[in-house]
Amino acid sequence: MALTPDEVRKVGSLARLALSDEEIDRFTHQINDLLDQFARLQELDTEDVEPTSHAVPVAALLREDEVRPSLPREAVLAMGPKVDPWMGGFIVPQVIGESQ
C-alpha cells in the first residue's frame, strides 16, 4: 500500500506545510521506505495487548483553584514576530470573511 505523491501533498496540507514539488517527490520515497519498515510490526501478535501511551502511570492532577502569578502581557508580546503594542495583540492576516 504505497503512498502516492498526491496523498503526500494532502498530508502536507494537513500538516500546514507548503511543500515544493521536489519535497513531495523526496518525502513520497522516504515515507514509503518507512512504511515498509512499519509493516514488520504486523508480524507481532498484539491481539490481547493493552496500548501504552506513557511508560509510567500518568494521572490528571488537580490543584486548588487559586490565582497564581502568570507572565506579564508585555513579556509574552515581546516574543511575537509582529505585534501591536498599543492594542496589545499579535498581528495576523484577516481570518473572518475569508473563503478558506
Binding site: 506545510l17 515515507i31 507481532l44 498484539t46 501504552t52 515581546a78 492576516p93 475569508e98
Partner: protein
C-alpha cells in the same frame, strides 16, 4: 598540575572549597578553552560570557561572605539549546525559533542556578532534537573532538562534544530515542538518560512528550551522579514528573558490585553490531564479572521491533507538538504573507529543516483518519510488549548490559542522505525510552581508529543508583575515561 579546564566537576567543587581558585578563574579558564577549540569543534550555538562571569562572581561573593553554597557552586555547565533560558536565545537549532528569547527558565536551568552552577552557553543539537549526528542543526554541524571529520552523534552532539573537548565539565542533554547515550558513546563520555519522570521536563521544548527526558553528560560517573542529584525531583509544573525522594546518588558509588545480577540480552549483540563494538563490550562485561557481578545471558525478543514502533510514536507526538510553530506568537514569520493559512504554511515550510518536515509528515499520516489503528495504535501495543519483556528480565537481573551504538562515530555526510541508515544508529537506545527505564552509556575502549566505544547499562525504573554504582566500579577498574582527544 592539570589545567583548570581539565578538572572534573567534583574536582572543581573541591578546588573552589579549598580556596585554590575562584569561581571567576574557573569560568575564565573554560571561556578561554572554548575560544581556543570551539572554532574547530563547533559545539556552541551561543556562548554567554557576561552571564557566566556574573554567576561566577556571585558565587565568589557568597563564599567570601561565608554564605551557604550549593553543591555545584562555581562549576560551569553547557546547556542543550532546547532548554529554555530567560532572555537568552533558545533556538532548538531551528531557523523557526531564530531570535526566540524565552520569558522563563526550564526547571532544570533554575535548579542548576540554585545549586550554584555557572551556565557557559547553549550548545548545538539536531533541529528539535531529531537526528543522530547533529548534522540536522539548522545552523552548522558539530564535529567529533576525537576526529574532526566525524560526527559527534546526536541529537545532543553539542553537549557531548563540549564535554569531550573539555569546553565544559558538565552538560545537560535530552534523550527521546538515545539522544544523550548515543552521542556520549560516540564522544567517549558518560551519558545518563534517567527514568521517565525522574527529571522535570518543564521548559524543555517538547519533541515526543511521552519519551523525552533530560539528563547529565559528563566525563566521570561521579559527575553524572552529582549533576543528576541537582536536577532530579518532582515539579508541580510537569504532571509527568514523579513525586519521589531524590537519593544522594554519590553515596551509591561504593565500588562494590559483588553479587549484582547482570543480564546480557543476546538481541543486542546480533548482526548489525560491528565486530569491534561487540568485542569491546564483551571485554567490559568480563571486567564487571571480575569485580564480582553475576553475569548471564537473557533475551528481549521485541528489541528489533522497537525502531519501527518508535518511528511511529515519536513523529506522531512531534507532529502534534510542533503544530504550535505558526509564525504568530514567537520565532520566525515568513514575509510572504497572504491568507492566514498561507502564513502558517509558508512560515513552517521556510522555518523547518528537511528532517523535521519528514517527521511531521510521517506523524501526521500515522495519526490521520483510517490509519490510526494500523500505525499508532499498533505501535503503542508493541510498546507494551517491549516494556513487559524488560519487566520479565528485571525479575531475574538487577541490570542489563549491551552496546550503546552499533558502530563508532561515522563520517560527516556518510549517512545524511540515507534516513534509514541514520535511524539504525539508535536501535540499541530506543527500547529504554519506549519502556521509560534509565540507561547509562560510558566509554569501554577504543576501536582500531582510536574512536571511543560505548557500553550501555539499563535497569528497572528508578534504578539510577544501581547503574551509577556499576558504571563507577567499571570506571575505577579501567582508565578509558582518562584519555583525551588531541585538539
Amino acid at each position: 598540575m592539570a589545567e583548570l579546564y581539565e578538572l572534573t566537576a567534583a574536582q572543581i567543587a573541591d578546588t573552589l572549597a579549598k580556596g585554590e581558585a575562584s569561581a571567576r578563574e574557573v569560568t575564565d579558564a573554560f571561556l578561554a578553552r572554548i575560544e581556543a577549540v570551539d572554532p574547530q569543534v563547533k559545539a556552541f550555538l551561543a556562548v554567554t560570557p557576561e552571564q557566566a562571569r556574573a554567576q561566577a562572581d556571585a558565587v565568589d561573593a557568597k563564599r567570601r561572605a561565608g554564605e551557604p553554597l550549593g553543591p555545584l557552586a562555581g562549576v560551569p555547565v553547557a546547556l542543550k539549546d532546547n532548554l529554555c533560558t530567560t532572555g537568552i536565545e533558545t533556538t532548538c537549532a531551528s531557523q523557526i525559533l531564530r531570535g526566540f528569547k524565552p520569558p522563563y527558565d526550564a526547571t532544570v536551568v533554575s535548579k542548576l542556578a540554585e545549586a550554584g552552577a555557572v551556565a557557559l552557553g547553549k550548545v548545538n543539537l539536531d533541529e528539535f532534537a531529531m537526528g543522530s549526528s547533529t548534522e540536522n542543526s539548522g545552523y552548522f554541524p558539530t564535529r567529533n573532538p576525537w576526529d574532526l571529520s566525524r560526527v559527534p552523534g546526536g541529537s545532543s552532539g553539542g553537549s557531548a562534544a563540549a564535554v569531550a573537548a573539555c569546553e565544559a565539565p558538565l552538560a545537560l542533554g535530552s534523550d527521546t530515542g538515545g539522544s544523550i547515550r548515543q552521542p556520549a558513546a560516540l564522544c567517549g563520555i558518560v551519558g545518563l538518560k534517567p527514568t521517565y519522570g525522574r527529571v522535570s521536563r518543564y521548559g524543555l521544548v517538547a519533541f515526543a512528550s511521552s519519551l523525552d527526558q533530560i539528563g547529565p553528560m559528563t566525563r566521570t560517573v561521579e559527575d553524572a551522579a552529582l549533576l543528576l542529584g541537582a536536577i532530579a525531583g518532582h515539579d508541580p509544573r510537569d504532571s509527568t514528573s514523579v513525586p519521589r525522594d531524590v537519593p544522594d546518588y554519590r553515596a551509591a558509588l561504593t565500588g562494590d558490585i559483588k553479587g549484582l545480577r547482570l543480564g546480557v540480552p543476546k538481541e543486542y549483540f546480533a548482526e548489525g553490531i560491528s565486530p569491534e563494538v561487540r568485542e569491546r563490550v564483551l571485554a567490559a562485561i568480563e571486567v564487571l564479572k571480575g569485580l564480582g557481578a553475576e553475569v548471564d545471558e537473557c533475551s528481549l525478543p521485541s528489541t528489533d521491533y522497537g525502531l519501527a514502533a518508535y518511528y511511529i510514536v515519536a513523529p506522531a507526538e512531534a507532529s502534534s507538538n510542533l503544530a504550535r510553530y505558526d509564525g504568530v506568537r514567537y520565532g520566525f514569520r515568513t514575509d510572504k504573507i497572504g491568507s492566514h493559512v498561507e502564513l502558517f504554511e509558508r512560515t513552517r515550510e521556510e522555518g523547518f529543516g528537511a528532517e523535521v518536515k519528514q517527521r511531521i509528515m510521517v506523524g501526521t499520516y500515522a495519526l490521520s483518519a483510517g490509519y490510526y489503528d494500523a500505525y499508532y495504535a499498533k505501535a503503542q501495543k508493541v510498546r507494551t510488549l517491549i516494556k513487559r519483556e524488560f519487566e520479565q528480565v528485571f525479575a531475574r537481573f538487577d541490570a542489563v548490559v549491551a552496546p550503546t551504538t552499533p558502530t563508532t562515530a561515522f563520517a560527516l555526510g556518510e549517512k545524511s542522505d540515507d534516513p534509514l541508515a541514520m535511524k539504525l544508529s539508535d536501535v540499541c537506545t530506543i527500547p529504554a525510552n519506549m519502556a521509560g527505564i534509565p540507561g547509562l552509556s560510558q566509554c569501554c575502549g577504543f576501536d582500531a581508529q582510536g574512536l571511543p566505544v560505548g557500553m550501555q547499562l539499563m535497569g528497572p525504573a528508578f534504578s539510577e543508583e544501581t547503574l551509577l554504582r556499576l558504571a563507577h566500579a567499571y570506571e575505577q577498574a579501567t582508565d578509558w575515561n582518562t584519555r583525551r582527544p588531541k585538539l
